[in-house]
């Protein structure tokens, strides 16, 4: 359903949606005069890790928010785990989770209390065991009974990740998951995400400005600019197409409008 309350036409997304973790079809979001997201389509297979790249205002957060059902599209369709969003969100919200710098965990509650509340919201079975497991995996044990407001930025990020994993989601949406982490902890979180994906065949969509992170984690990259998809391929194919050795160089080419020139030069 779109913001006008009308179901849009049903093109190819229905076919892709059944097998895809996320299927986005001709998605548009207009805020007054601004086209924040401008007719984008993509489909993410289950078990994949995809990086969503783009400068500030490229439309990444709005796209993720529409996938989560927090923002209604102006037109176009989103299917998550085979269900229409937001109409069938009740069927999928328990099977997905997210982490974003736009939200916090309640500050006065301890880490254990926060994880208990969210575990109950997601109807997690054997919740105490699950929390103990996450605490061990994400190294939360030393501060699990400390209020969230008294944690360092890095500790808070790990707690937010624990909350995002509390229900063992099939689909994980991450917005800057390693922001404010020191390189060692960030590397450790990436390793954890890779392991989680592998062990659970989970799908991860990751918005990040950390190009090294995207190169390491993602088997596919979608580059957005001014609400549109500028490129969509494996990191290796994209770097080859732009004749660059790092995604950071590609990102700068796209951000500074050198993208077409770079691609032409390769041809």
């Amino acid at each position: 359903m779109t913001e006008n309350g009308k179901a849009s036409s049903r093109p190819t997304v229905a076919d892709r949606g059944l097998s895809a973790a996320i299927a986005v079809d001709h998605l548009v979001k207009v805020y007054k005069q601004t086209r924040a997201v401008d007719d984008i389509s993509f489909s993410l297979p289950r078990g994949s890790i995809t990086g969503l790249l783009g400068g500030n205002g490229a439309g990444k957060t709005t796209t993720i928010a529409m996938i989560m059902g927090l923002v209604l599209p102006t037109s176009g369709r989103v299917q998550v785990l085979g269900h229409e969003m937001p109409e069938e969100s009740a069927s999928v919200l328990g099977r997905m989770n997210f982490e974003s710098p736009y939200v916090d965990m309640p500050m006065r509650l301890t880490v254990r209390q926060n994880l208990t509340v969210f575990g109950k919201l997601y109807a997690v079975k054997n919740l105490a065991d699950r929390i103990a497991r996450l605490a061990a995996d994400l190294d939360l044990t030393d501060f699990i009974d400390r209020p969230n407001g008294k944690l360092s930025a890095g500790q808070k990020t790990r707690v937010a990740l624990a909350k995002a994993l509390i229900n063992q989601p099939e689909l994980l949406l991450l917005d800057e998951p390693t922001a404010s982490l020191d390189p060692d902890t960030a590397d450790w979180v990436r390793a954890h995400l890779e392991r989680y994906r592998r062990d659970n065949n989970a799908t991860i969509l990751l918005a990040s400005h950390n190009m090294l992170e995207v190169e390491r984690l993602c088997d596919r990259v979608i580059i957005m600019k001014r609400g549109r998809i500028e490129d969509d391929d494996t990191p290796e194919a994209i770097m080859a197409r732009y004749n660059r050795t790092t995604l950071e160089e590609v990102f700068l080419d796209v951000a500074r409008g050198r993208a077409n020139g770079a691609k032409e030069a390769v041809r």
Binding site: G69, L70, V71, L93, G94, P106, L109, L121
Partner: protein, 272 residues
């Protein structure tokens, strides 16, 4: 939070999780607990002494002993009931936690039911000591009203929830810039609901407005009980009917405002 839908059952598990969340918060913060006790106690002491003074100097009020202090207690049920509901909601805005809840399987109706339960818990913490103060300091036993007290309480708490649901919707849609409405809207009802005086005091045209508000029936009913020793069942049933309409309307307004917030992207920036 599941989008606007009411299909499938309501989960007591998720409602319980939200109540647990607010309970943890209350226990973690003594200023929050103290605030629940402080204002009701202050109210009943101030107005209780005023009632004592009036009772000593006016025969009518001496006969109608308790109308003033009873009105204060009932008004606090209405006002604190709404605040209890709305403050629990605001805690999510202040904590920037609304996005987490919106993305969880929690449904709007479950969220609102949890807020209603929390308003009862917060109200109990504030009002029970207040009624005991009234009893020991001014010999006014609100529990002596008996079964009618339940009718007054229900009608007042239903109205407080309706107002709480509506203003929560306004805050979802407009962000914390609309927070002041949470604290002030109920005061707009104060003169019209005839808390401290009978409806007949108002100009005739304003009496129609007063009778559109369920609390008016509760306060008139209380005065009828204390002054004439008559329980006006008719007033309580009429108030119940208006409350049912208000509750449905406020829930509809909340859903409409939530949808509007999703359309405008307000949920991504819930600040000022």
């Amino acid at each position: 939070m599941t989008d606007l839908s009411l299909h499938r059952g309501i989960s007591l598990h998720r409602i319980g999780a939200m109540i647990l969340r607010y309970w943890y918060l209350l226990l973690s913060s003594w200023p929050r607990l103290l605030e629940l006790l402080y204002w009701p106690a202050l109210q009943v002491i101030t107005w209780g002494f005023l009632q004592l003074y009036i009772a000593e100097n006016a025969n009518f009020f001496a006969r109608a002993g308790g109308t003033l202090i009873g009105a204060v207690i009932l008004w606090d049920i209405l006002f604190r009931g709404q605040l209890g509901f709305s403050i629990s909601f605001l805690e999510e805005m202040w904590a920037r936690n609304l996005g987490n809840l919106m993305m969880s399987p929690l449904r709007p109706i479950e969220f609102l039911l949890a807020l209603m339960v929390m308003s009862l818990i917060r109200l109990a913490i504030g009002i029970i000591p207040m009624t005991l103060l009234a009893l020991f300091l001014f010999h006014f036993n609100v529990y002596a009203l008996g079964l009618p007290l339940i009718a007054f309480f229900c009608n007042l708490i239903f109205t407080s929830w309706s107002v709480g649901i509506f203003v929560s919707g306004l805050v979802v849609r407009n962000g914390l810039g609309a927070e002041s409405i949470v604290w002030t809207l109920m005061f707009a009802i104060l003169p019209l609901a005839c808390v401290y005086y009978p409806v007949s005091v108002l100009p005739v045209w304003l009496q129609y407005v007063a009778w559109a508000l369920p609390p008016t029936y509760a306060f008139e009913g209380m005065r009828a009980l204390l002054i004439e020793q008559t329980f006006r069942t008719d007033l309580m049933l009429e108030a119940l009917f208006i409350n049912a309409v208000l509750l449905v309307a406020s829930f509809g307004a909340f859903l409409a405002l939530l949808r509007s917030a999703k359309r405008h992207g307000s949920l991504l920036s819930v600040g000022e």
